[in-house]
Symmetry: C2
Subunit: 301 residues, 2 copies
């Protein structure tokens, strides 16, 4: 048990990597892994993704450790199919690297059955599985977990002891009872039911008002990753949309170049979360957002 996935990642980077190690990160990918890795001064390698998630080819060869989000790639939400999962595991054995599988939003697959986790297919202890209760129960409880080999967990326990002793024990106890009695399963079903309705409404509204801008098929998650027209600056869009009470997340921070090392970061991507918006407000919001984009980039559509 950890103080959320954040601490799981912090500890794994500290335990597994040194300044000579190469950590492979999906591009675009989860920004905080990159921030944690920067603190520990290991080598970073950006890894290409496509509509099936992380691309498994020779780009992985130099890596010592790979961070991946196969359930719903963060931030694009694409899901890695079973065939590629097997490929990735074979590659890990061939090239002798380890994998951190962040099972981000595995609970919210609406259009297909969830694929088995990499960890469940792993026969050579190469996969370190991390998860949390932040996306389902409550982020404020700060409860995450790591599933890995006994030897690694032993080292992680020792480091956790020095860092924080342990996550709040009242929250661990409450969550244990919540899980044990089946309330979490019921909660996840409830969330999935609600998200699915909003996810469909989002899909319809995006298809209608911003055609061609979002990835299909997507299987779920709690957000859509949208590619605005070339020339759109999502940072500018964010401010204009906020004036209309629409909140978006510009996509630039998910690209590796965003730390200022590169000018080649696309600025036209943004992310739309739908976990906290009622269904009837989705279509009017997307319609307004499309109007603003049209205003900012009058030559599109």
């Amino acid at each position: 048990m950890t103080v959320g996935s954040q601490q799981s990642l912090f500890m794994l980077v500290q335990l597994l990597l040194d300044q000579q190690s190469v950590l492979g990160l999906e591009e675009p990918g989860y920004v905080d892994v990159r921030n944690i890795a920067s603190l520990h001064k290991c080598q970073l390698k950006s890894l290409a993704i496509d509509k099936q998630g992380l691309v498994v080819d020779d780009q992985l060869n130099e890596c010592d450790l790979i961070y991946t989000t196969p359930s719903h790639q963060c931030p694009t939400t694409v899901t890695m199919p079973i065939e590629r999962r097997y490929e990735l595991l074979r590659k890990a054995s061939q090239e002798d690297f380890l994998i951190i599988e962040d099972d981000y939003e595995s609970e919210t697959n609406f259009d297909s059955k969830p694929n088995p986790a990499l960890k469940s297919l792993d026969e050579s202890d190469r996969v370190i599985y991390i998860g949390s209760l932040s996306k389902t129960l409550a982020p404020g409880l700060r409860l995450g977990y790591v599933v890995a080999s006994e030897r690694l967990i032993e080292e992680a326990r020792a480091l956790r002891r020095l860092m924080i002793r342990h996550p709040a024990s009242n929250n661990q106890r409450a969550a244990a009872l919540f899980l044990e009695r089946g309330y979490h399963d019921a909660l996840v079903m409830n969330i999935a039911r609600n998200y699915q309705v909003r996810w469909r409404a989002m899909n319809e509204a995006l298809t209608q008002h911003l055609p061609g801008c979002h990835e299909t098929p997507s299987f779920g998650g709690s957000c859509y990753w949208v590619r605005g027209p070339e020339g759109l600056d999502a940072g500018v869009l964010k401010h204009r949309a906020a004036e209309e009470s629409i909140f978006i997340e510009p996509g630039t921070i998910h690209f590796y170049g965003a730390d200022g090392l590169s000018d080649h970061v696309p600025k036209n991507y943004f992310r739309l979360g739908f976990s906290s918006i009622s269904t009837d407000r989705i279509e009017p919001g997307i319609k307004k957002l499309a109007a603003i984009i049209h205003e900012l980039c009058p030559d599109t559509f």
Copy 2:
């Protein structure tokens, strides 16, 4: 706010020290600071203490950072008088070092008014004050805090974000209300009243059954630091005492040499906590313990 003093110390060591830095530690002293520092590979220097806590003389000159427990020195429980506090602050300015003041058990001074914290006397931002709710409210909540200059807190916030995001917010909220409404003050008064009775009973029983073995004057705390006769091995005593349902903590882990680098660690010290024992069981327990010591070291008393 931190996940307990453990995290405060972990972050401060990470932020303030590199491999060239010298961290001064009281000897005997709080073992986990040493463990954290070992992980970060800075230089360690053992600092002598006496009946007024940390000795302020040229032993401090080479240090970049000093960790001290002036309220009740850990583990000996001695309290640093006001004159020495001023001396220490002067020395810090002269020799240009920083001080971590761990205000361990400041709430439990029974025989004298609490001395002002070093931090409250500090006019040159050299003192970093840390505390927690673990010794009063509950260790399981994992709530600690750091009081320091704005610049340092800003850096600590950034590191905390990467390590854990934040301590559990439900516990922060509950503790804030508990403090705001005065319940914590009432709790501390209650604790002090109960501890004081046990602390007196301990003092009387130790004076009667193990004369000359504990430090006086002591002003409070939640334990006694006992020097057994020369030739006593507190590790052996621990096991013999456990057979009689008496639990003691051998003192060796509080000495720097305990990691195996030195054979000069005294084995005859041990610590007796009294925060969880009812008063009427204290005298019979000490009497039994004294009998076991007598059995192990027949030539004493």
